[in-house]
């Protein structure tokens, strides 16, 4: 088949906004403060991140998600913003930010920003003005009330630290509304100036070059009497307004919703394909951990069976761990007790309604288990989001307050401060890990890059393989019957086209069929069989693959052909926590069939 020589995406030329890049992208969530300190002041900064772009390009991620970098008193990890239109001086300047965006784009890496729309810091000038009197120009930019009894149906999110969503303000002699910490008053979107200003904010950052936003705490923008104040129609209307701006003036830029809820509710944030491009699938994450502890697939398949179809052009964002606690809001009380007992044996590991631990310690450092979970993450429906440091299996520090346990400095080398900063130890924003198991002398980028057998290299290889199998991004998803409850097997399938890459002339890449620029290429169907053993013991998997009879399962990592599929049940043996991905290759597409 002749392949058109055209650029195929961010790695090969200028960004093509028509390509739904986010449906195939691997996101990398980075805490600027903890990534790399370029100016030796003990805090990571934009220049530091910019210096490490080569590493991120080498790793093979597609999009950086920057945690809040705005001026903030840092009472909630930067989610308490005191100026939406600037960069925290600890991190650098707007100029540094533009430099970072340009360099990232040059490397084919997109960048999205965390946009905290729901609330500000109580140190924000808007709030300072609002609380100063009941008549000032911004008096209604926040929600004030004479008592704390309004909207009793709205739940308190941080039940361990906040008793109410209302807090008394001595200056104004009224209560103000907040869904999170009391130092984070909620903005009042019923005031047109607020809603307009936040749209201006979106435009401001997109004009600087951001490729989109992760919308923080998006379900809470509006309150209405008699409701729980979550997922209200007015919120959706407002998101559609922002999306319309993006479609009109910033094609190819994305919105990613942080809406912690059941999939059927969260899917509303896709709208009819006219709201968010991506939504986080929160309930999947704890169930991945539950499944490997219970050694059975049902926690995963149950939640996936409750996950609705989403509009074309949308995608779930899935993750193993992030900057927050491993949230257990979307599990039953019984399941929460179970997860606490299995993964938070020390009470200090608990944070709010979750577990403040990183991936590796959650898994007791079991690399096989980490590989299995990543294999699931990279093949289940959704765009994977990797939390910085988890590519090394970094540890955590449960003795640090709130969620700082998982926000310690990135471990670059065995040198002083883990290579994160040349500042004095006492200057560091948080102490790096120094324990013998997860400390920087044992776990760091430098050592793992030198060791081809390291987890870092393994993950990098998996990202390469994922890129070669576009059906893992947007393909149909079908769980296969397997009598063995410890085995989770599914097929991702769809039409793809093979195209030559202009840059090299000879390299062929496989991309989804139907995307702009490739309509002329002849599509072929691709089916990838993913089989995972959730048990610590070796397990057989007996699968009915009759639909693919005649195809050869080509093991993805080694390109090893397995016996041709027939009508009989197909038996695969998996080692402890083993996984196998197979490209189910039709006879006519088997390498060597045409004698070449």
């Amino acid at each position: 088949m002749s392949a058109p020589a055209v650029p195929i995406g961010p790695r090969d030329g200028p960004f093509d906004p028509s390509v739904r890049w986010f449906q195939h992208a691997v996101f990398y969530e980075v805490l600027i403060r903890g990534f790399y300190d370029a100016n030796d002041d003990g805090t990571g900064d934009l220049k530091g991140l910019r210096e490490k772009l080569d590493y991120l390009q080498w790793l093979g991620i597609d999009c950086l998600w920057l945690l809040p970098f705005y001026p903030s008193p840092f009472r909630d990890g930067g989610y308490d913003i005191s100026d939406f239109f600037n960069v925290h001086p600890d991190y650098g300047t707007l100029g540094d930010l533009v430099g970072l965006l340009e360099d990232a784009h040059r490397r084919g890496i997109r960048v999205i920003a965390d946009l905290v729309m729901n609330h500000t810091s109580d140190q924000h000038p808007w709030f300072i003005e609002s609380r100063s009197s009941r008549t000032n120009p911004k008096a209604d930019w926040y929600t004030w009330n004479d008592d704390d009894q309004r909207w009793p149906e709205a739940r308190v999110v941080f039940t361990d630290v906040e008793r109410s969503n209302w807090t008394w303000d001595d200056t104004r002699q009224q209560y103000y509304w907040h869904r999170f910490y009391s130092h984070q008053p909620d903005l009042n979107y019923d005031i047109p100036e607020v809603a307009d200003t936040m749209v201006d904010l979106v435009r401001f950052w997109l004009d600087l070059g951001f490729d989109g936003f992760r919308l923080d705490a998006v379900p809470y923008l509006y309150q209405r009497d008699g409701t729980a104040g979550e997922h209200l129609p007015e919120t959706h209307t407002y998101i559609r307004r922002i999306r319309k701006q993006l479609e009109a003036d910033y094609p190819g830029r994305i919105l990613m919703a942080e809406a912690n809820g059941w999939p059927a509710d969260v899917a509303d944030y896709f709208g009819d394909g006219d709201e968010c491009h991506l939504c986080f699938h929160f309930p999947l994450m704890p169930r991945l951990f539950m499944a490997v502890r219970r050694e059975q697939r049902y926690p995963i398949t149950e939640i996936l069976s409750q996950t609705p179809e989403i509009p074309e052009g949308c995608q779930w964002a899935i993750f193993l761990r992030n900057h927050d606690e491993l949230t257990l809001e979307q599990v039953s009380d019984e399941e929460r007790d179970y997860l606490f007992s299995e993964y938070a044996k020390d009470p200090r590991m608990k944070r709010h309604m979750g577990i403040g631990r990183r991936l590796a310690p959650l898994l007791d450092g079991d690399r096989r288990l980490a590989e299995l979970l990543y294999a699931l993450l990279l093949s289940l429906p959704g765009s994977p989001v990797i939390y910085y440091g988890d590519e090394l299996l970094m540890g955590d520090n449960i003795y640090l307050g709130d969620r700082d346990s998982v926000r310690t400095p990135m471990q670059w080398s065995p040198d002083r401060n883990g290579g994160f900063s040349r500042a004095d130890f006492a200057q560091l924003y948080l102490p790096p890990l120094m324990d013998p198991v997860y400390g920087y002398s044992a776990v760091n980028v430098e050592a793992q890059r030198r060791n081809p057998g390291s987890f870092l290299h393994w993950l990098r290889g998996m990202l390469v393989e994922r890129r070669s199998l576009p059906v893992l991004g947007v393909g149909a998803f079908e769980v296969l019957d397997c009598p063995n409850p410890s085995v989770l097997a599914y097929v991702r399938s769809g039409d793809v086209v093979d195209v030559a890459v202009r840059a090299t002339g000879e390299t062929t890449l496989t991309v989804p069929a139907g995307i702009e620029g490739f309509q002329e290429a002849e599509p072929r169907s691709q089916a990838v069989l993913c089989v995972h053993n959730l048990s610590r013991f070796a397990q057989p998997a007996e699968l009915m693959l009759g639909r693919w009879a005649g195809s050869t399962p080509l093991e993805v990592l080694g390109r090893v052909p397995f016996p041709v599929i027939g009508e009989d049940p197909y038996t695969i043996t998996l080692g402890p926590y083993g996984y196998l991905w197979f490209d189910l290759v039709e006879p006519s597409h088997m390498p060597g069939v045409d004698g070449l």
Partner: protein, 422 residues
């Protein structure tokens, strides 16, 4: 229609004898006399299908025979090495006869004949092949159960299945088509339980984890407790549906206890010396209870259940209320089914321990006991917490425990008798 000439009748008699021989465990035993009673042509031509009912071993047997061209290749399903049974001459000439349910090409044709749906199906998997039924799964479609031994009248298992379905009990593979002729059930087609794993397999998964990690079962990762509780809930819902479908009767518990005692004495009097047994019998007699009895499942154990993405289901209704060793439906206390499941929890823990540690040196027995105790509690707690179940079983937990123990003893005695007979 097939004209049943003497020659054809003789051929079919020999073919059914050969078919019976393939299905008998003891192939060296003398072949029983066979008398062909009915032949129905399910599919004419080649390959053809003949549905044969014959009399053998004192009851009706049911063989589905395929007639292929001579010398045709066959692809065997399951453990039968060679499905070929012999030759048969019909209007198409001489053909090679095979067991159609063990032939990968013919099994879908049997399904098509039963359902009247000619849509091609691929991927046939043999699920079970016992005297109770030959079960075939057709990928992504359904399962077909064909009864090799027929009841006079309707099959109690099918009656149970249909009754549960009509009562709105949705924890089962719903019947899609019934294969009935002359007032007898020949088979049944059910929806496929997507993503299911057997209850026994799931329990083994939990036990493997516990035996590897040690400690308390609730602290082991593969804790079965929540599953046990959900299984208990599903069991209670099954009993409520059976109550709605078949109604209930009342039974003198003392008489029942006396009857169980006689069975236990006949099996092994030493069972009565086990701790707590005597007290349970006496307490139940002293209580002078009357309780409801139902059309129960009949043989309710982990192997009859399955776990799916939607929760637990009754995967196999075929006992149909006929307990092991009985020949007809017996109305029993629903706690008899409960006792079956409790016994099954004991059994799976013991089997898993002996498989892992045949010598008993690793001390798995204590872990097994802990697992069993936890999951008995979980199962009972799910069962008794189900709204409405209080109308079917005693409200006081202690009496429930004693009654369940008595029924479990009956189950153990039946097992001893069965092993003795074997």
């Amino acid at each position: 229609m097939l004209e049943l000439t003497d020659d054809r009748r003789l051929s079919l008699t020999q073919l059914v004898s050969a078919w019976l021989a393939q299905h008998r465990e003891d192939r060296s035993a003398a072949e029983p006399p066979v008398e062909v009673r009915e032949v129905e042509v399910l599919r004419a031509g080649r390959p053809g299908l003949l549905d044969v009912i014959a009399e053998a071993e004192g009851r009706a047997v049911h063989a589905v025979l395929g007639v292929r061209r001579l010398g045709e290749e066959t692809q065997s399903l399951g453990t039968t090495d060679d499905p070929v049974l012999g030759l048969f001459e019909d209007d198409e000439g001489l053909g090679m006869v095979v067991d159609a349910l063990h032939d990968a090409e013919l099994a879908p044709l049997v399904l098509a004949a039963v359902t009247g749906d000619d849509t091609p199906v691929t991927g046939v998997t043999p699920v079970a092949d016992t005297d109770e039924g030959v079960v075939l799964a057709f990928a992504e479609r359904c399962t077909l159960t064909v009864f090799p031994r027929l009841f006079d009248g309707l099959h109690p298992g099918v009656e149970l299945l249909v009754a549960l379905d009509e009562a709105g009990f949705n924890h089962l593979a719903a019947p899609v088509a019934l294969w009935r002729r002359g007032g007898r059930d020949l088979g049944v087609v059910q929806e496929l339980l997507a993503g299911s794993a057997g209850g026994w397999a799931l329990a083994l998964t939990s036990l493997r984890d516990l035996y590897a990690s040690g400690g308390l079962p609730e602290e082991a990762g593969g804790d079965f407790g929540p599953e046990g509780r959900a299984l208990g809930t599903m069991t209670a819902r099954m009993h409520l549906a059976l109550d709605r479908s078949f109604g209930r009767r009342s039974e003198d518990v003392t008489e029942r206890v006396d009857s169980v005692e006689r069975i236990v004495v006949a099996a092994d009097p030493a069972l009565l010396d086990a701790p707590g047994v005597g007290e349970a019998f006496e307490a139940l007699r002293a209580a002078n209870l009357h309780g409801p009895v139902l059309h129960t499942h009949g043989d309710f154990h982990l192997g009859r259940t399955a776990r799916t993405d939607q929760g637990w289901v009754v995967a196999d209704c075929m006992p149909g209320g006929v307990p092991p060793g009985a020949t007809d439906v017996v109305f029993r206390s629903p706690l008899a089914d409960v006792a079956d499941m409790l016994w099954s929890l004991h059994h799976v823990a013991s089997v898993a321990a002996s498989e892992r540690d045949p010598t008993g040196r690793s001390g798995l027995a204590a872990l097994a006991q802990g697992w069993e105790a936890r999951n008995r509690r979980a199962f009972l707690s799910g069962y008794l917490a189900t709204p409405g179940i209080g109308g079917l079983v005693p409200t006081d937990r202690e009496t429930v425990g004693k009654l369940a123990a008595v029924f479990e003893l009956e189950r153990a005695a039946a097992r001893i008798m069965q092993l003795g007979a074997g």
